[in-house]
Symmetry: C2
DNA sequence: AATAAAACGGAGGGTGTCTCCGAATCACTA
DNA sequence: TAGTGATTCGGAGACACCCTCCGTTTTATT
């Protein structure tokens, strides 16, 4: 009987089914890392995380070559929720309200998982390629929100969406007082108000 | 012959003149640290700094028990310049203009000595006592500026000065793109504009 | 069951932090 | 100017973390 063959690109020879233990370890590491980061901040020892996950250091580093890669993986789902929220707000709310709501949500997310904040800014020194994926999602979200608000005429034409984003990420980094979320939310309104067109 | 004695507080017994080598070493360390931080960022090896200063690690740690203490000491003079600028601006410019000018200057200072930025926010986890002195100076400066602007009626009554400060420090941390100073300056105007009273 | 690709794991080398304490240095006194 | 005790120096060393390397083990596949 003639059988079907999946078409293979010649450049990509037969792909093997990924090993189940690899997948399992990857998830275990992510699980442990999430707890560890939330508990003890973003510079927990990676060797410790590996041990708690019942895995050798080598395994951890093979899956996540850098600390940043691990952090990004841990928070990828949160970032996707933010991106989803953008779409929903854009459909159901007037432009400026949507922008404001999203910014507040952003603050909330960072307040909950405070570790994501230092991870969001690239390190001093140079624009690295880290967090490429997550950053693109976030940037896409605020870009869409601001563009819509500009089009509606409720926001200055010359507003750079990333300016807002930078401010948001920034305040989230400064955790000098326990009430910083309130401060951040007040700031959202200042930013919105300061972004309206000059009359 | 009867001699004079300096009156001594009993609680504070005779103070000895500080040793000259201690003073000299302290200054040498500061000098080297300043260069090292500016050149290679804020996580240069402290042992390296000690060696470059021709000093043992113990000496460095005795003078500056933590890395943060050293950083603060290095940038204390810059902070004092900022505080001085506040006084000058307050005397020579109208309230809002003074506030704006100072904020822009703040951005410039951080742009020049980028290391001060990560040093300005307390670490995640809790409000530590680090940078107590410097932070007080900066906070005092913006507090004065905002209070004056509020009194003149050009700024909302309910504006918290520290909200602005947080935003400033924050954006300075996010160095994702090489043009962040421009972004920061645009943001200053957004913040000012958003801080005006609602009509 | 045999085979080879893929993943594992942990020992180990490199680097950074910070302490500890005998040795060296200095301010003060007579 | 020499003596002396307080103060500071210095660097070896204990510890922690990062990350790699490679012999061993597991797995998908034939």
């Amino acid at each position: 009987m003639q059988r079907f063959f999946m078409p293979k690109k010649p450049s990509e020879p037969t792909r093997r089914k990924p090993r189940t233990d690899a997948q399992r370890n990857r998830e275990r590491i992510l699980e442990v890392a999430k707890q560890a980061f939330t508990r003890s901040g973003a510079n927990t020892s990676l060797d410790d995380i590996a041990r708690d996950a019942g895995v050798g250091a080598g395994t951890l580093y093979r899956h996540f070559p850098t600390r940043d890669a691990l952090i990004e993986a841990v928070y990828r789902s949160e970032v996707e929720k933010l991106a989803a929220a953008e779409r929903k707000f854009s459909e159901t709310m007037p432009p400026v309200a949507a922008l404001r709501a999203w910014m507040l949500l952003f603050v909330d997310y960072i307040a909950a998982k405070h570790i994501i904040a230092p991870a969001l800014n690239t390190f001093v020194g140079g624009p690295s390629k880290l967090y490429e994926g997550s950053r693109a999602q976030i940037q896409g979200a605020i870009d869409a929100l601001v563009k819509r608000a500009i089009k509606s005429g409720d926001i200055r034409k010359d507003l750079d969406p990333f300016d807002l984003l930078r401010a948001l990420i920034g305040v989230s980094n400064v955790a000098s007082t326990p009430d910083w979320p309130q401060s951040a939310k007040r700031l959202v309104d200042i930013l919105i108000s300061g972004s309206r067109p000059v009359k």
